[in-house]
Symmetry: C2
């Protein structure tokens, strides 16, 4: 088809949406790899493990029985019930199945929840650094993200005091993640409860992203839903992507207060009809107790990797400001080496073959002096990566 060369007007708000800088690094890393270079991938935010076999076995079995049609828009009733049971058994949380909405990835859960809450020009408070899509979801609804710079003193998290100090008119919701991406840090449950109560007084919502739930180390996994007297303004986002290792299956969920369920259902019916059916049957299998042992084994591997990587960094003289309790990330302040994390990541990739994520993906404010290390590769490779980086930065200082 001979293309007409006219271009037509595009959406101003969509044009402003930032790309993932990590995709550029990933692209360059792949090219180098194809050219024969030995690349250590620490840029990608997903488990290196494939999904456990019980997932595709169950998906296949369902498909063989002809279960390949749309499901109910809020998800298979038996999956919503299984999640409700899971909350009771593992978190001591009493969450009715009717409050659980199964979504295509937690990405859609985030979009659904924000769409149900926000009108245009509403404001949403979130930490800087934060998961990059959150800002964009808010902007796409013509609402306004308010970023509050946080640092290691609050473990890169919001807390009640920070909410109070930064409160302003028009804030309809606050978004937090625990454990968080890119920092791996938690918010303690009693703090979350206090934040929810404060927000309830302000008639605002607390959106708690628990998608790295289960991936916590040296302490039990928790859910804010287990808190007694939680006000009706808390929406919890979760996913089968990370702890359950099912990224490519695109399945998540959200738990919402009863008064939002009907709106969430209508949004789901219109925005995406239903979550992938094979994935839902796969998820039913992975929630079975016997199949969780593999996930616990993987969790332990992540814990070991965290410890090895953290130690290697400290030993190399790259002092990290804290040891994160969860997820699979370390957040590294590189200001000693560079004030341009994108250039720094490119430089490291070219000179050491180590691929990291520039902090600018997560933080407009201070991202230029941070990078994220994902321990989503073998322990020994992680240590080798630090050795390579250390050797390279050494040559730089001495020249």
């Amino acid at each position: 088809m001979p293309q007409n060369t006219n271009t037509f007007p595009v959406s101003t708000s969509a044009s402003e949406i930032e790309p993932f800088r990590v995709m550029k690094i990933l692209g360059e890393a792949k090219k180098l790899q194809q050219a024969g270079h030995d690349i250590i991938h620490m840029e990608i935010g997903e488990p290196d493990f494939p999904s456990p076999p019980c997932v595709h076995e169950a998906a296949m079995q369902a498909a063989e029985q002809g279960l390949t049609h749309y499901t109910a828009s809020m998800g298979l009733p038996e999956l919503r019930q299984a999640l409700s049971d899971f909350y009771r058994e593992f978190y001591g949380a009493d969450v009715e199945a009717q409050r659980i909405v199964v979504t295509p990835g937690s990405s859609c859960a985030l979009q659904l929840a924000l769409s149900a809450i926000l009108d245009q020009d509403d404001r949403v408070l979130m930490a800087d650094p934060t998961y990059p899509c959150n800002r964009q979801f808010v902007k796409l609804l013509n609402a306004e993200p308010l970023l509050v710079k946080v640092d290691h003193h609050s473990r890169y998290q919001l807390n009640l005091q920070i909410l109070r100090d930064n409160w302003q008119q028009g804030i309809k919701a606050v978004m937090v993640a625990s454990p968080a991406n890119p920092t791996g840090t938690l918010i303690e449950q009693d703090e979350l409860l206090k934040m929810a109560q404060f927000l309830a007084q302000q008639n605002a919502y607390l959106i708690v992203d628990e998608i790295y739930q289960g991936l916590v180390y040296q302490r039990p996994a928790e859910s804010v839903l287990a808190q007694e007297d939680l006000p009706n303004n808390v929406v919890v986002i979760n996913s089968f992507s990370k702890f359950f290792g099912m990224t490519g299956w695109r399945l998540g969920w959200c738990v919402a207060p009863p008064h939002l369920i009907d709106i969430l259902d209508r949004l789901a019916q219109n925005l995406y009809l239903s979550a992938p059916t094979p994935s839902q049957y796969g998820a039913l299998a992975i929630l079975k107790k016997a199949n969780l042992t593999e996930l616990e084994r993987r969790r332990k591997i992540f814990e070991q990797r965290r410890d090895r990587l953290y130690d290697a960094m400290q030993n190399a003289g790259f002092r990290l400001k804290l040891l994160p309790q969860g997820a699979f990330y370390l957040y590294w302040d590189i200001s000693e080496w560079s004030k341009d994390s994108e250039a720094f990541c490119r430089e490291l990739l070219l000179n050491t073959g180590v691929a990291l994520t520039p902090g600018t993906d997560f933080s407009p404010g201070q991202g230029c002096q941070h990078v994220r290390l994902a321990y989503t590769t073998d322990e020994n490779r992680l240590v080798e990566a630090v050795d390579r980086i250390a050797a390279y930065l050494q040559t730089k200082t001495t020249t």
Copy 2:
């Protein structure tokens, strides 16, 4: 968790989103079925066939090889290439793989395309009746759907003349579907080209939903992308749901002009990360020539059903205004019997066990006097449904 009974403010625009009326009918139909009634389902807009076995076999094989991670946000390169080849081979259309964005269902393709084009307060012209989600996608972006009533004189479709007659300031896009839901009618390719050219002069886009492509009868399937001199303002939406029978796998795509691709990619990265990986491998299999024969067999079954159902309706004295050329729907003007299609559908369900979709899902203007019949069930059951309806309406007239 004792629920606090406070409710918190919800989004005004989201509250206005209409539910699918068909879900209510579906729920009632299922209840009656469980109570032992013999229900004929003609309300559901998806093929009754499960996805062909090659789909889950390929998905399973990929999963066994560990291919369960996120894919590139625009889709597996080999799937984009396979779609490009498909366009060349079956439609004689030259569509570069780089212009194809694989999405989680065409639902997300619609959302992506509209998000890339629209700013708030922009207007989008569409036919009344139309696929219900289109209005809602537009509203969620704080843009305004403009519905233009169409009837059998234009085969329930927009055309160049209707565009001219209804043109007004601020229209950024026109949405059409060919074949359409709920009417099953087509727009001829030369008309589509003229519409695209007219819109190009107005600096506006034409979004062509081809998701029922392949499901056309007594004529070859076509794509607007095969038109020469197509201006750069045409976005095509498509899906593996209907012709390919993969509804539950949630996989679709869009073909966009080059200047939109980068924005679509950034939107995809933020809105949903990537389409389901097993579904993408499944789709790769179904696009293989050998596997298309099963789809052709199914297409012929739909064609027979259309003819049987249409004849049965005519014979029963339910004169339909036209014989649709595609999809799997008939659109029936019931004004002779009722001016309240929702009540009419409920009444039919209770008295005859036949479940239909009220036109109000598709048309705020004239939906109250139309219903949609989906021929997504066995031929003989379709004829029985008409017999039951005829017998029931007979008793009504005579009493």
